[in-house]
Amino acid sequence: MIRTWNLALALSLSALLMTNLSYAKVKIGDPAPAWSSLVGVDGKDHNLGEYRNSKVLVIVFTCNHCPVAKAYEDRLIELQKDFGPKGVQVIAINVNNIPPDRLDKMKERAAEKGFNFPYLYDSTQVSGHDYGARVTPHAFVLDKSRKVVYVGAIDDSQALDSVKVRYVRDALDALLAGHKPPKAETKAFGCGIKYDDKEGSK
């Protein structure tokens, strides 16, 4: 009896530990985790709710230093240019705390590139954990009811001339036409996000 109890206790303890160590990761159909008070390169605080007038949101976890993330900067600008008028808002969030990715450098980069979308800094990294962002860039598309409808890569290749499928654009086209994205999940690729808490990267 005691042994059984010990086993039960051990199991529940390990379950508890697992819960603490493995951060939440959104699944397709989940409500998008809210975030608030994320400072943008405009110096203002931003929260998910303020974009309520946009039909669809594209949240991209990205950063300054990563060459893969850089390769997608122009593609994000184009995305906002093409889909902004249709009610889509691109929001870039950086959660890396290494010096080249800090807010001052983010401001420089946004100005250099002329970002036409908010670029927000989450030094707490909580939003990255909540969404389960693993690499930069890692895209999450949220529908009108702010459910997660697409998770993964922006398109299928960093090399622009090798791109065959533009996952996020395809998802947006489908959503705006009242359909589900043709592909809800793809493999994101890029630089690993540098979570301060190593366990968070599990």
């Binding site: 230093h65 693993r134 690499v135 960093q158 090798s162 994101a188 630089c191």
Partner: protein, 173 residues
């Protein structure tokens, strides 16, 4: 000698199955492989402990870790460790890959994923969470023993070496 043969056969294999044959055979050129061709290279090394380092020239942490991979090869090749590397650079960046490998003194078979930096590479080579460096360690039977990188064990040099030593000791008996 054996190493030389393995390298030659890896190159020859890439020659057989890719359009880049002429280039692959030329000095300093890196064979460009898909997952099937790479699986064949793994199979050729069956009987050895195999460490595969997935990396790219654009990846800072990969470049930092790479010298350790070279060292592991130097220290443990004689004891039965085979080291292979797969770059997830885009194939047109082959010159940069080749240059980096030469600067590191990498004298083991190295490859470039034919899918480059893409979703397909991540899927085809099963790089768990899409981030590199990612290292896979196989036992002498070709079974994946451990992976190091995001989503797996942290890629700390000491831990990788300990796992290599453990596997060499365990399976050479």
């Amino acid at each position: 000698m054996t190493r030389g043969l393995a390298w030659l056969s890896a190159t020859a294999l890439a020659c057989l199955v890719t359009a880049g044959c002429r280039h692959a055979a030329a000095p300093g050129r890196i064979p460009i492989v898909d997952e099937k061709q790479f699986a064949a290279v793994l199979a050729e090394n069956r009987g050895k402990v195999i460490l595969v380092d997935f990396w790219a020239t654009w990846c800072g942490p990969c470049r930092e870790l790479f010298p350790h991979t070279v060292q592991l090869h130097r220290h443990y090749a004689k004891r039965g460790l085979a080291v292979l590397t797969v770059s997830l650079d885009n194939p047109p960046a082959e010159a940069e890959v080749s240059q980096f490998l030469a600067s590191q003194g990498a004298d083991f078979p190295s490859f470039i994923s034919r899918y480059g930096t893409s979703s397909k590479s991540i899927e085809a080579f099963e790089v768990d969470e899409g981030a590199i460096p990612y290292l896979k360690l196989y036992d002498r039977e070709g079974k994946l023993y451990k992976a190091f990188g995001q989503g797996a064990e942290e890629p700390i040099p000491e831990r990788i070496e300990a796992a290599v030593k453990e596997l060499l000791a365990r399976t050479s008996a």
